[in-house]
């Protein structure tokens, strides 16, 4: 059932445009969430959430006026539309008619068993499984925390171009954190799972696997040596290490940074910005993936956008407004955290495509370097292209083999330079789920890549080299 009736949507849009303007939009949202937090052997803080709200926007030239309300009745929506019409106030009140046509639904969520099929106790039981599996890894595991979060988000967008769409996103996320103690030290290990899938993914041993991986990482870090400092050759494992590209390049390809002249990639379409081995893509249409959607939060179709092809910059990621400003077609990257925020260009699922090299060969052909097995997160200065990310599990590579584990490494580099220095790309592939923060808004974004090698990045550690 639609969040807001189509006829009411048309009426609201007509009122919004009644005193002039180029474009009007209604964004409505209904989200249901459940969060379970399991720690020290107990489920302490079960939470349920129900969020409903709408944003009515009117654009006129460079101005965009929005009224946001948590009430979806006709009175509240019409009042919101009247407020913004009056603010723009380009002409005396006149009548305007909008005819809306529903676009085909194209949900990217891939749920077999809906969240509502299990009760809270059944879900809580999974957290116990993850906890027990973590603790079984050894006495050094002093503490385990497991978080489970499910969110069913339904959105509806209607605009004055005549388009109305519904999009459903169902997010399932679990994180296990294990704390290992020994010799006066405390180290943490983290493992997470995040997809737009249903409860079917919990039926196997995924919870136990998360617990085990988190515990193993914590124990490894407890016994690891301090990472060396200085420039090193880096081999990044496939999957979440794709956050390298997300930070090194992805943010700089969001069109708002480009248009405001605060991106190191501005004006470089058609130029070589990476090694020719590198092809990178943003793709919202991967069924069941964490950052996917059928329509973005402005009603544009989610799509696959080639960002870099054989090392050459091909395109940016756009919202409706930046696409219009640039004179290009919208790329379906206009996203907002919720109805409380305005849409801005954001990534969806961003990744470097697999290459030809055998992943095992990439390590074997590295005489000395750092193997990055897992990372926390990263951050970028889009103007300069300088980025940093934190390694959460890594090994020295010595003579083509994985040697001693190291900890405490921060990798720092410059986006364009780092991408030019990619010299081997594996044939494997994986994704990891992240929450990407930009301008106070946080959205689901997946990062992915194959195993790949960068000939040099600076490692910020406290140990000595070789």
């Amino acid at each position: 059932m639609a969040i807001i009736d189509r006829d009411l949507l048309a009426k609201v849009l007509a009122v919004a445009l009644s005193r002039g303007g180029d474009y009007a939009e209604v964004f409505a949202e209904h989200s249901l969430t459940r969060v379970f937090d399991y720690e020290q052997g107990a489920l302490k803080r079960p939470m349920a959430g129900n969020t409903v709200g709408a944003a009515v926007t009117l654009r006129a030239g460079e101005r965009a006026i929005t009224a946001i309300t948590h009430e979806l009745d006709e009175g509240a929506l019409i009042r919101a539309a009247e407020t913004i019409a009056e603010t723009i106030g380009l002409c005396p009140a006149g009548s305007h008619k909008v005819e809306l046509h529903y676009q085909d639904k194209r949900t990217m969520t891939a749920v077999d068993i809906p969240f509502t099929e299990w009760n809270a106790q059944a879900k809580a039981g999974l957290l116990v499984k993850a906890n027990d599996a973590a603790r079984a890894e050894g006495n050094e595991i002093a503490q385990v925390r497991v978080l489970y979060r499910e969110q069913s988000r339904r959105i509806q967008i209607a605009n004055s171009v005549g388009v109305v769409v519904d999009d459903d996103r169902d997010y399932l996320h679990m994180v296990a954190q294990a704390f290992a103690v020994g010799g006066g030290e405390l180290q943490v290990g983290v493992a997470q799972y995040g997809k737009q899938r249903g409860l079917e993914v919990l039926s196997g041993d995924m919870p136990e696997e998360l617990g085990r991986r988190a515990a193993c990482q914590a124990i490894t870090n407890l016994h690891a040596q301090p990472a060396p400092m200085g420039p090193m050759m880096i081999v990044l494992s496939g999957g979440w290490s794709g956050v390298l590209f997300h930070e090194a390049c992805g943010h700089g390809l969001e069109a708002d940074s480009v248009l405001s002249d605060s991106s190191v990639y501005r004006g470089r379409i058609g130029e070589k910005v990476a090694n020719e081995l590198v092809t990178a893509v943003d793709d919202a249409t991967i069924a069941g993936e964490w950052g996917s959607y059928g329509y973005d939060d402005e009603g544009s179709m989610g799509q696959r956008t080639i960002l870099i092809e054989d090392g050459v910059l091909r395109g940016y990621m756009h919202s409706r407004a930046t696409a219009e400003q640039s004179g290009v077609t919208a790329t379906g990257n206009g996203r907002r955290e919720s109805y409380e925020y305005m849409p801005i260009p954001r990534m969806s699922n961003t990744f470097i495509m697999p290459g030809e090299d055998d992943p095992a060969d990439i390590v074997a052909r590295t005489d000395y370097g750092l193997f990055v097995k897992d990372m926390r997160g990263g951050q970028v200065n889009s103007a300069s292209g300088d980025f940093v990310f934190v390694v959460s599990e890594g090994n020295i590579i010595r003579g083509g083999k994985l040697a001693e584990p190291v900890r405490g490494a921060t990798l720092i580099g410059n986006g364009p330079e780092a991408l030019q220095r990619v010299d081997m790309i594996g044939s494997d592939f994986g994704f990891g789920p992240g929450m990407c923060g930009k301008m106070e808004q946080s959205v689901q974004a997946a990062c992915g890549q194959p195993t790949l090698r960068v000939t040099e990045l600076t490692v910020g550690g406290t140990g000595q080299g070789r």
């Binding site: 720690e39 020290q40 107990a42 489920l43 302490k44 803080r45 079960p46 349920a48 959430g49 129900n50 969020t51 709200g53 944003a55 101005r63 965009a64 006026i65 929005t66 946001i68 309300t69 948590h70 009430e71 603010t87 809270a120 879900k123 809580a124 002093a142 704390f179 030290e185 405390l186 180290q187 943490v188 400092m229 200085g230 940074s257 248009l259 002249d261 605060s262 409380e340 925020y341 305005m342 990372m375 997160g377 990263g378 951050q379 970028v380 103007a383 300069s384 300088d386 980025f387 940093v388 934190v390 405490g408 921060t410 720092i412 301008m439 106070e440 600076t458 910020g460 550690g461 406290t462």
Partner: protein, 448 residues
Amino acid sequence: MMIQYEKIVSDGLRQGADEVELYIHKEKTTRISGSKSTIGAVSTADVNGVGIRVFRDNRLGFAQTSVLTEDGVRKALAEALDVALAGDPDEFNGLPDMAGSSSGWEYYDDQVVTMEPQAKLKLLAGLHDHARAVDSRVSGLTELLYKDQAIEVRIVNSKGVDITKRSTAAQAFVEVCTDVGGDLQSGYGLRCARKVTDLDFPGLVEYAAGKSLKLLGGKPISSREAAVIFEPLTACELLGVLSFALGADAVQQGRSMFVNKVGEQVGSDQLTITDDPEYEAGERSQPFDGEGVASVRREIISAGRLTSLFHDASTARKAGCALTGHGNRGNYRSLPLPMPSNLRIMPGQYAQEELMRMAGNGLLVLQVFGLTTGGADQVSGHLSVGVSGVWFEHGEPVQSVREVTVSGSLFDLLNRVQATGNDVLDIMHQGCWSAPSVLIERLMISGK
């Protein structure tokens, strides 16, 4: 029709709860954003909601909803009661035994509500040109985000508490870029205030432009141990990381660097950190916390000694100590958790230039990367973050620096605080943090 919240509370008790609490949040927010000369996106929001806690047989259940109708709130109450059944009993669960009041302080500026958005927009006019006027190398204002809020919170609970507080806040974020022959640098600035008219927008733009100019032509330096001065904005960001580790929940659960450290020396005697809910310039000033407990000013770290953690009702009960009034929430969607109100590194007497002369040679850090994405681990205390700034010698700037990291332990950082400045900055990011420039005697810098 007005919702009878007291009736919802008593209905909750009848339906099986031992205790019930309603946290009713009403918020009007204005946001203005844009870049360059086009500051054209204005949004006004009415965001209301209620967070309901129920305790039954020592189990907690929580539900939040934005549907503020009688039906919507009752549904949320039912959800809270239902989801509580999945929780495990905890003898320390429950509402606080005492409450504050709403009398006294009003942290409220009417203008936040009465000034029309278009009038606020006028205050932001001309900032792009103002940025460009600072220096010919400044390309302009690349991002502006202004936000103000008027918030009213009412807490009604089954212990007979019914108290209300109101507050306003205004904040601005700007990014200014410099461009010299394709070498692009950015500097950002944040300011917050209770009153819209207390925000100095031109000053903020000049600050961001100045930072961006200082970072132009930056290069890595070789790895070395050296004195490091964290400029106020970066010191505020570090303070934010520490604030998570100072929560009693993290300490009691063994996931904080401050486990078993209360009463001990954790920093140098030059370091005092205070939580101040009465701070005039603070955005999170309040008469009571998110559970209704009276908030009072309290030293957390006194001349380097850890004297207090942040407690909520359940952590205080577990520790057997007095309530500290730190059961705070971001908004109605969150549970109260031990968090500060306005957290302040107390200022010293030195201007930033004096700190540089005191150190002789060192790195003035103007921007930090990776603090909140794993670079500062509040569990292990490990610190490894990217920084950019200015290398100085004999107290004078020598070269711009970028693509280096500062590493070590957060304890080393705290213990080596040599002096604090008098140049206090207050920012509102995830919390309200206040800090001056802070001189650290030495830290490891990794570069080329």
